[in-house]
Symmetry: C2
Subunit: 335 residues, 2 copies
């Protein structure tokens, strides 16, 4: 198993990326190829005592920044750490790929270099959120600002097959993010998507789910248009960050509370871990032919390692083959 990692993607590249790669190699017994300026990467490894075992490098000078246009990965910046990673994945030199870089470029590269699964209309970002010791996938968390009912229906199929074949649950329940649970709720898009999803026998559709439903464990896959899925994900992140901040303020406001907080530390750590969705990896780019995982831009070594594990597990799971087969079957009758 070989995972290719964009060595220069993310806010903390290349140091945290390299640390994450070393941890993944150590824990998972896999090979990792890192793309980027080889001299810089090797120097960073040496200076930080990161063991180079089972990590190889593919040199390129180019870097895609967060400000770059998404399309640059296809031409102007094809020769970047991310562009090269996509080319190596495409050419079969690795089984899966991880980047913590520019989301738009990951989407463009995944869709147009690795290419979509035949019949899939749009690829979608799909993070898995930990909830009550279970998991809920959000699909799409921001790849497609504008969707059609058919995209949303396919997101349901892809999400359910991912959750099943990655071992999260046997019969994933699929919900549709909406502004109310009643069937008549939402925009025209959501009403039409609801009707399509209800008729789809490929997965168990449980109907509309509200924003708060993610945490109620109502569904295993929450299908959303990329705009509101993005609003949901960032609201959850923002709220969690805010609450942890005011909790920290409350617990460090006096010497007395500081002492109490210190004694509670193990419990608070468990709590923090429960909220940390990078424990599950990053957002998988579902709908493309090979495993591509977008790690959070602010990924530290641990988050990156988890994204590598997720990418390797996806390659092993055969979920993409199952999705390819399922889409082929739904497409056939129309021919």
């Amino acid at each position: 198993m070989t995972v290719i990692v964009d060595g220069m993607g993310g806010d903390h590249a290349p140091l945290e990326i390299l640390k994450g790669c070393a941890a993944a190699v150590e824990e998972l017994g896999i090979n990792v190829i890192v793309t980027g300026p080889e001299e810089l990467l090797k120097k960073t490894m040496e200076e930080n005592d990161i063991a180079p075992r089972n990590i190889s490098f593919r040199h390129t000078d180019g870097i895609i920044t967060m400000e770059d246009e998404a399309g640059c990965v296809l031409k102007a910046k094809r020769n970047s750490s991310m562009g090269l990673a996509f080319d190596l994945l495409k050419n079969g030199e690795a089984d899966a790929m991880v980047s913590a870089g520019n989301s738009g470029a990951v989407l463009a590269g995944g869709t147009l270099l690795v290419k979509r699964i035949p019949g899939i209309k749009r690829a979608a970002f799909a993070p898995v959120l930990p909830v009550n010791d279970k998991h809920t996938m959000l699909i799409d968390s921001g790849a497609n600002e504008v969707c059609t009912p058919e995209y949303l229906d396919q997101f349901g199929t892809m999400g359910a097959l991912y959750m099943k074949h990655m071992g999260f649950c046997e019969n994933p329940r699929v919900g549709l993010l909406n502004n109310g649970t009643e069937e008549c709720k939402g925009t025209e898009l959501h009403k039409q998507a609801h009707a399509l999803m209800k008729e789809n026998a490929a997965y168990e559709f449980i109907g509309n789910v509200e924003g708060r439903g993610v945490f109620d464990g109502e569904c295993d896959v929450l299908v959303a248009d990329g705009f509101s899925g993005n609003v949901l994900l960032k609201s959850v992140e923002g709220t969690a960050t805010y609450i942890m901040k005011i909790m920290k303020e409350a617990l460090t406001s006096s010497l007395f509370t500081k002492i109490l907080a210190a004694m509670l530390k193990p419990k608070l750590r468990v709590m923090k871990k429960k909220l940390d969705y990078t424990e599950e990896g990053g957002a998988v780019l579902l709908g493309v032919c090979k495993p591509v995982v977008k790690a959070h831009g602010s990924s530290n070594a641990k988050a990156l390692k988890n994204a590598i594990r997720q990418a390797a597990n996806l390659a092993k799971s055969g979920a993409i083959d199952h999705i390819t087969q399922a889409i082929k079957e739904t497409e056939t009758p129309k021919n």
Copy 2:
């Protein structure tokens, strides 16, 4: 100052509603009229030792449930506790109105009985969220699933004038909820709204704000289409509830942690209060001619009292007159 309260609206009506009314009368020195089945209301007051001082009743048997169609308040259930409250407000028998009942019916009654301010295209629900000891208004939190750029621009005008005249801030900064901060982000609706809002001299537009931006204090008014505003509000609620739940689990997992948690109680209470957005009242229905506040369906006495205070303050503030004037001025050149 007289506030009229729908005595039968909300999950905990009539008891918590009546307790909230009594607390509001006590604290604010105002008059309250409660609508509903008079015998039941009076009996509930007596049995719970709620002082009837400055509370009067207007009898009606009808009740609008959460399952009722929104439009029933206009005809079939006009003679309900909510319908009667709207009629009394409309006829000038009270200065403001509060209901914790069916949101759709509050919107229908506000728009079609109390009526929109001339020139206002759509009324919107606008809760004020406490953030870092400041406040951010979300407008629209769910009244309009489908919006036009013009609606969003008017929400900006209304929100800014509300925040200014209710004393929250002198020069409210208005942001647009989007899936990225760049100007090119979002659906066609959001791009066009951005362009309109940028040109509007009636308020200070600071550009696009992401879901997590609510808690960054980036803006004082966050304009959203009702669909994604609803997703945001419910995600925030869901996340906060979930975190408080796992925190409680962590703090009550052993006798030792229970003792520590008991010692931290005053601090945890401050924290909980900071997160409780019913401290600011409910969601004001901005865009209608008179003050209408929709309290949360699960309102307890304190939340209801806060909603009454908010409604009374809105009546005193003159904010609705300022909105009426501002809309008149923007409309005039077109005639």
